[in-house]
């Protein structure tokens, strides 16, 4: 009977003190726990937590073997070692226990057992294979978490921040960069381990893992908690936007928006105003953000009948931000312009001189005349399409919009 047959079924859970690619730290930690009577369970890693069985303490060697293929369950052999490799390892006294990251974990309770890796140059080659895989995943991580969102947002970071909420955006960006730097760290660590192997001919199976364990566990826990928190926020934002919970129907809005709306575009006191009965529009949202303490989204479709029976009808879509500084307002105005300029069918329109710090007009991909105005710390992006026979000229409605920012 082997010593390990005396283990109890009761499981003990531990957070690893080092990342999966810290081969020396992992081997040393698992060996130390065995000497305290904790033996890694079969497939004993789940969601970053290791499970152990209790037993009589005795010496046990643990070794990490660089997986030749990805350990993902969708890869060759389901991410498990080749059966023949398992059989030969067993023949030499090594039992396969689990995988963590890109490494297989073996153990042996026999003292003079033949090492799993007997040629440091070949072990360095195996580590290089893992390093290449991790480098590819670091590049993908950089593309998906940094470059792709930047392209998708057309580089308009401040605009995105105020639209989705600065805390949510900054946390997401920090997590994306954190993920990238973690994957970069893996590559650098394996590179230095390979160099060590080639220079010294062996790795340290009894490395002091306690030195960095507190920091690693704290950072991992923080990263995991923040990721979960961010995902919850994302889900919340998604459900709120899907259910339209933050939007107020214009018919119920009693406030006075700090910019000109359709009603302000005509100066006829005897005109009559009527909101369109279209169900998907005529809503507004007012919110506050770190960068823009007062922000508005305005979707209005209406018809105004003037005293001479002529009509002004159409839709006004406006985004308005009162930012914490004129610099931010200007950047947001420029980002509005950049975002639309990079879109399809952008066509510049001419504006007269307006009493604002920044003004631009163009027709966007929906062919709607659009203006971007910035004055001090206020910025307004408005598209106004008209369906009436005698539409209001751009200079006139843009002028009224500019006046409303005073």
């Amino acid at each position: 009977m082997t010593k390990r047959e005396n283990v109890s079924a009761k499981r003990v859970y531990r957070l690893p003190p080092c990342p999966s690619y810290d081969v020396e730290g992992m081997e040393s930690w698992l060996t130390d726990l065995a000497s305290r009577g904790l033996f890694l369970c079969q497939d004993g890693f789940f969601a970053g937590v290791a499970s152990f069985e209790r037993g009589a303490p005795h010496p046990m060697k643990y070794r990490l073997d660089a997986a030749p293929e990805s350990t993902s369950m969708w890869s060759k052999n389901g991410g498990e070692p080749e059966e023949e490799a398992l059989a030969l390892s067993a023949q030499y006294g090594w039992e396969y226990v689990a995988s963590r990251g890109e490494f297989y974990i073996y153990r042996s309770e026999e003292g003079g057992v033949r090492e799993l890796n007997t040629d440091p140059q070949v072990q360095a080659l195996a580590l290089k294979t893992v390093q290449k895989r991790l480098r590819s995943s670091a590049v993908s991580c950089f593309l998906w978490a940094v470059i792709y969102p930047l392209l998708w947002l057309r580089g308009c970071l401040l605009l995105t921040m105020v639209s989705v909420g600065s805390p949510f955006f900054l946390l997401g960006a920090a997590l994306a960069l954190g993920m990238f730097f973690r994957s970069l760290l893996q590559v650098l660590h394996l590179r230095s381990l390979r160099k060590k192997l080639l220079a010294q001919g062996a790795i340290d199976h009894r490395k002091n893992w306690q030195k960095q364990s507190l920091r690693y566990r704290a950072v991992s826990t923080l990263f995991l908690s923040l990721t979960v928190f961010w995902l919850v926020l994302l889900l919340h934002q998604w459900s709120v936007s899907t259910l339209d919970e933050n939007n107020t129907p214009l018919s119920e809005y009693a406030g006075d928006p700090p910019f000109a709306t359709m009603e302000d575009l005509v100066s006829d006191p005897d005109s009559s105003y009527q909101l369109s009965a279209l169900g998907f529009s005529n809503t507004m949202r007012e919110w506050s953000d770190w960068l823009a303490p007062r922000a508005f989204d305005w979707n209005e479709i209406a018809e105004i009948t003037l005293s001479d029976r002529t009509r002004l009808s159409g839709g006004l879509y406006a985004e308005y931000y009162e930012t914490v500084s004129p610099w931010i307002a200007r950047r947001i105005a420029e980002e509005f312009l950049l975002y639309d300029r990079l879109g399809k069918r952008y066509e510049e329109l001419t504006l007269p001189t307006l009493p604002v710090d920044f003004a631009a007009a163009y027709s966007n991909d929906l062919h709607f005349p659009t203006i971007v105005l910035q004055k001090g710390s206020k910025v307004l992006h408005a598209s106004f399409y008209q369906t009436s026979a005698d539409p209001l000229p751009l200079e006139e409605w843009a002028g009224r919009m500019a006046d409303s920012l005073q």
Partner: protein, 110 residues
């Protein structure tokens, strides 16, 4: 280590090719061959052996010819034989230099 990983074969790599020069073998047979041939002087670990087999297969020095249950049998290719021959030549030259330069002093003493 040279930039090209396979430019110089390590002793374990060379013995794996030597084993496959005899006949097609599976990993377990190769390990037994090396143990027998070197009388246990060269012990090849399972992780080392399967890393070498994987690398050789990628470099087309060997090819898998049969899978029977968990046993995979490999055969050396022309490219593998050529690599083996080059390594043998390198070792011969190395040995000749050593014999000429330090052979008398470093040889076995009575």
């Amino acid at each position: 280590m040279p930039k090209r990983a396979m430019a110089v074969l390590t002793e374990s790599m060379f013995y794996v090719l030597m084993a496959l020069c005899q006949e097609p073998m599976c990993g377990i047979d190769i390990a037994e061959f090396i143990d027998r041939k070197t009388s246990g002087r060269l012990q090849i670990g399972p992780a080392t052996l399967y890393t070498i087999l994987g690398k050789f297969e990628k470099e087309k020095y060997i090819r898998e010819i049969e899978v029977e249950g968990r046993k995979r049998t490999y055969q050396i290719t022309e490219r593998g034989i050529s690599a083996c021959g080059q390594e043998l030549e390198r070792l011969r030259l190395c040995l000749a230099d050593a014999e000429a330069l330090i052979g008398k002093e470093a040889g076995p003493h009575d």
